[in-house]
Point group: C2
Chain length 201, copies 2
DNA sequence: TTCCGTGATGACACCAGGTGACATCACAAA
DNA sequence: TTTGTGATGTCACCTGGTGTCATCACGGAA
């Protein structure tokens, strides 16, 4: 953008603040308007008042602009598991992780999440990236469980079940008539899975 | 490559045969020699005696050259599930799928698979694609289970467990000292998971 | 034999994602 | 005032990926 633009009360600012957030918003808007493929990185940057080069200083690639906040979730999950009582079962521990992560899913972000999800669901490349992120979360839980002494196979299984619960909860959370309480949804999803475990045979 | 090259006993052939396989082999070789990122599509095509354009007629993108044979596995899994006895439990049905898919993992392909796996493990982009393929297999199993009347949540869980077993079996299969009998490995992995289900809490 | 359709490939131009190197400039600290 | 610093812009460049048209050996039909 033009350096030295007027921002507020005539004060000079070298750059508009919140560069990252502006890029994310511009990208989401354009993806909604024209679709992901029909939007170039240069266009995103332009709408945010920046250049292509700057975009790639904030995001490793075009897809990443839709996947911010992943590290926050990883951190919350880890903390949630660490804070779980020592005698908690693996699934209870996973429940603690999901509950800790729930704080991210506040009412205000639902509309944005919904738009984002529509775009992601439509593009193979984006689904791919989403799977990578989901896997990273699953691995986070798995490692945290193993550090608590849970055997490998059990940790693997429990974290995967947690991932299923998380995905199910998210889908229900963004549904138009969905319950806005993510923690509750995650708990329910986890309970459902716990019950159906007995029907595997 | 040069059209009209001599092939066998002086016979003229417009093109060397097995274009696809030649590209796959050339790609694997180059990836091993120089690494995935340091290999351009043009170089792969050149080694196979073809051009970049032809490469992209066989593979949708650079990564796909490492992911052939996926559809075969999808078909085998589907058939395996369809052929499972009607009264089989969900996990037994999954076992049938894995066993049906095992025919792909013959002794002769182990060395190639091993090389391939080293490359895939090293590159984020390739891991992404692998996750997409794995997910596609999981969804195949899930849908097949649902068509047999298994409830959604159970089908979801069972197919995911199947995917874990498959992955574990594959890792053991390509291990240097691994058991070359994929079907046996898959069965063992599935049994382990079945047992650890009771320890989830 | 001659001709023609067909399918796989080559040639070429082009776009967009992504990167390296260097310039710019407001701000802050000395 | 000077100097350093960090975020941004500029520019050139590479490579993945695609659209379009040309080429040419093959098989079959006349």
């Amino acid at each position: 953008m033009t350096p030295g633009a007027i921002t507020y009360h005539g004060q000079m600012a070298r750059w508009e603040p919140n560069t990252r957030a502006r890029l994310e918003l511009a990208a989401l808007e354009l993806f909604v308007e024209r679709g992901y493929d029909q939007t170039t990185v240069a266009e995103i940057a332009e709408r945010a008042g920046l250049t292509k080069r700057t975009f790639f200083r904030y995001f490793a690639d075009k897809r990443e602009v839709l996947f911010g906040g992943q590290d926050v979730l990883v951190r919350l999950f880890t903390e949630g598991i660490a804070a779980a009582p020592e005698q908690a079962t693996p699934l209870e521990t996973i429940g603690a992780a999901l509950e800790a992560g729930s704080v991210v899913f506040e009412q205000a972000r639902r509309a944005l999440s919904r738009k984002r999800q529509v775009i992601v669901a439509d593009h193979r490349d984006l689904r791919e990236r989403e799977l990578l992120k989901a896997t990273s979360l699953t691995e986070t839980m798995r490692e945290a469980l193993r550090e608590r002494g849970v055997p490998d196979t059990t940790a693997n299984l429990a974290s995967t079940v947690g991932s299923l619960a998380f995905t199910a909860a998210f889908e229900r959370w963004i549904a138009p008539d969905g319950n806005p309480d993510f923690a509750a949804l995650a708990g329910e999803a986890l309970d459902e899975l716990r019950k159906s475990v007995t029907e595997l045979g």
